[in-house]
């Protein structure tokens, strides 16, 4: 087993910590989403949805708590989609040549970058959960300490699989593109449908059939399902809809993310193995 990807990881993390603006903005952004969008939306939506009573025995969940899972997912999506950008700079500044000319297997470049992007997503998810608790997000209702620990682990596993898939995708695209502007364009274009055609901010039950079908193929939907399964349980009521997720369904969502990551790995591996410097 070769461990050189840890070297790439190590350098990416040094950069993350040294590049102050990137560090602070990436930590602050999710908190701002929670603070402004979350509070504004929940104060409105809770007014409407409070008129729909939860069925007996089902835990009602307020909107802020509901969307907190969506904000974790969204932040993970953004961070991962742009996570490959550093490779583009490496390439344009010639730094990539040092790695390509070294005996390190080339797939380790994308693995190191992906691992660091995943770490950033873990840090961000932790911040959202901690900050959310301050704002009144009711994650882990009446859970025991061990169940909370297990749930956080479960959330991280979902966040990890999802971010890995998108980081490998982003690394692949970055390796093929010439300009950061191009990457920015593609990623911004992808962000909108991925984010809005999902269950991150609202229930998909009310979508038209066509959008519902699309949302089921959206990896973000499966990430949010997983996070809610661990944070809120398999049966709760929010935004006028009842959410039931069996363990099998949660596993299915994870399998979907794992397959997505595996496909992205195979595609990115091809790109990296063929990488040449002109």
């Amino acid at each position: 087993m070769a461990w050189e990807f840890l070297t790439v990881y190590w350098r990416e993390m040094i950069r993350f910590v040294r590049f102050r603006t990137q560090l602070f903005s990436s930590l602050l952004q999710p908190a701002l989403w929670m603070a402004f969008f979350g509070i504004a939306m929940s104060s409105n939506l809770d007014r409407f949805t409070s008129s729909i009573p939860a069925p007996a025995g089902v835990i009602p969940v307020d909107y802020l708590t509901f969307m907190a899972a969506g904000v974790i997912a969204m932040t993970t999506l953004f961070t991962s989609l742009f996570g490959g950008m550093s490779l583009l700079f490496d390439k344009n500044w010639g730094l990539m040549r040092e790695m390509l000319a070294s005996p390190m297997p080339r797939t380790h470049i994308m693995l190191g970058v992906s691992l660091s992007g995943m770490t950033k997503s873990f840090i961000q998810a932790s911040i959202i959960m901690a900050f959310g608790l301050l704002l009144g997000v009711q994650f882990f209702p009446e859970y025991s300490a061990s169940r909370i620990a297990l749930s956080i682990l479960g959330i991280f596993v979902f966040v990890g699989a999802f971010s890995l898939g998108f980081l490998l995708f982003s690394s692949n695209i970055s390796m093929r593109l010439e300009s950061p502007e191009g990457l920015q364009g593609i990623m911004t274009l992808l962000t909108l449908p991925l984010f809005f055609v999902s269950n991150a901010l609202y229930p998909i039950q009310a979508f038209p059939a066509f959008l519902q079908t699309l949302s089921i193929y959206n990896p973000l939907t499966h990430l949010v399902t997983g996070i809610r399964y661990f944070a809120l349980g398999g049966d709760f009521f929010a935004v006028g809809a009842r959410y039931t997720t069996s363990t099998a369904e949660a596993l299915g969502s994870f399998a979907y993310l794992a397959v997505f990551a595996a496909v992205m790995y195979l595609l990115a591996r091809r790109t990296f193995q063929q990488a040449a410097v002109t």
Binding site: E4, F19, G94, R97, E98, L100, A101, S102, M104
Partner: protein, 316 residues
């Protein structure tokens, strides 16, 4: 090809789309020598280096570096070589030590060994005091020295130096030449490209000049300069025609050309031995000499002769 050839290139061709960047070149580099690869920009130099260093896939021909085929065993070639890139290829936000550390880890040098080599090399290139400085705060010369130290970290059998002194001041260049000689003295084969002809002249054991994707000439610096042959004496007198007659009997003179600005006399042997006699003859004929100048062929002349280009016109 002999057993002591550390680089063997045979019938190498490379095209980008319709453009043939390298059109069938072959050369060898002997173990332990300093080999210079010269050529104007766009001549195929970078393409060749990129193939030799496994950064570009081989299209046609055979290339062996340090005993390994670049197409079949790129991993072994990569382990055996070191590269100092043309531009300052340094991560601005890493410190000097981290830059070295990163490189050492890419080549899986064990930790203790890595630390020892970093200490040694930073001392050699005199960057010990800058250990924890970020590379963006280093001067141009320090950056280049750091890159040389980095290239040496893996104890390569062949060190590729792509324009190692470009844009550096004369003192720094001379120090870098010293490092190159030291490294070569310790047994490392050096593959050098440069736009500075005197650099190639001073450092190289052998030189190849490439132009339009083909090698136009190869040899030792002395051989190359000798192929241009002759030293040239420039002479300005009060009467060039008479002066021409006066010296025409001298055996070593190969040709004399007259121009409005004076005579240029090509000499088949060492010009400095012939010059006193030329002056005596002209004076003897009662002609006053207003200006005299002896020019020996330089690598610049060799380069211009074979590529038809002035180096300074090719840009950087």
């Amino acid at each position: 090809m002999g057993g002591d050839d550390i680089i063997e290139v045979c019938d190498l061709e490379h095209t980008f789309g319709n453009f043939a960047a390298v059109r069938g070149i072959g050369f060898t580099v002997k173990k332990g020598e300093v080999f210079s690869f010269l050529g104007p920009n766009g001549a195929g130099k970078s393409t060749t280096i990129n193939i030799l260093t496994t950064l570009l896939p081989l299209q046609k021909g055979t290339v062996r570096v340090a005993g390994y085929d670049v197409a079949r065993e790129p991993g072994k070639v990569r382990k055996a070589i070191g590269i100092v890139f043309q531009d300052d290829v340094l991560d601005r936000d890493l410190t000097v030590r981290e830059t070295m550390e990163f490189h050492g880890r890419l080549y899986t040098i064990p930790r203790e060994e890595r630390r020892r080599r970093i200490d040694d090399l930073l001392r050699i290139v005199e960057l010990e005091s800058k250990r924890d400085e970020r590379t963006k705060n280093l001067s141009g010369g320090m950056k280049r020295r750091l890159q040389i130290a980095r290239g040496l970290m893996t104890w390569p059998e062949v060190l590729f130096l792509d324009e190692p002194t470009q844009g550096l001041d004369p003192q720094t260049r001379m120090r870098i030449w010293d490092y190159i000689r030291q490294v070569n003295g310790a047994g490392t084969t050096i593959f050098l490209t440069t736009h500075y002809m005197e650099e190639a002249d001073m450092l190289s054991d052998r030189i190849s000049i490439i132009d339009h994707g083909r090698i136009v000439v190869s040899g030792t610096p002395a051989e190359l300069k000798n192929t241009l042959g002759e030293d040239v004496v420039y002479l300005e007198t009060e009467d060039d025609r008479k002066a021409r007659d006066a010296i025409s009997g001298i055996e070593e003179i190969r040709s004399i050309t007259e121009s409005p600005r004076g005579l240029s006399v090509t000499i088949s042997t060492d010009g400095s031995h012939c010059l006193p006699r030329i002056i005596e003859r002209v004076r003897g004929a009662g002609i006053t000499i207003s200006n005299v100048n002896l020019k020996k062929p330089t690598m610049d002349d060799v380069f211009v002769h074979y590529t038809g280009k002035e180096l300074r016109d090719t840009g950087a």
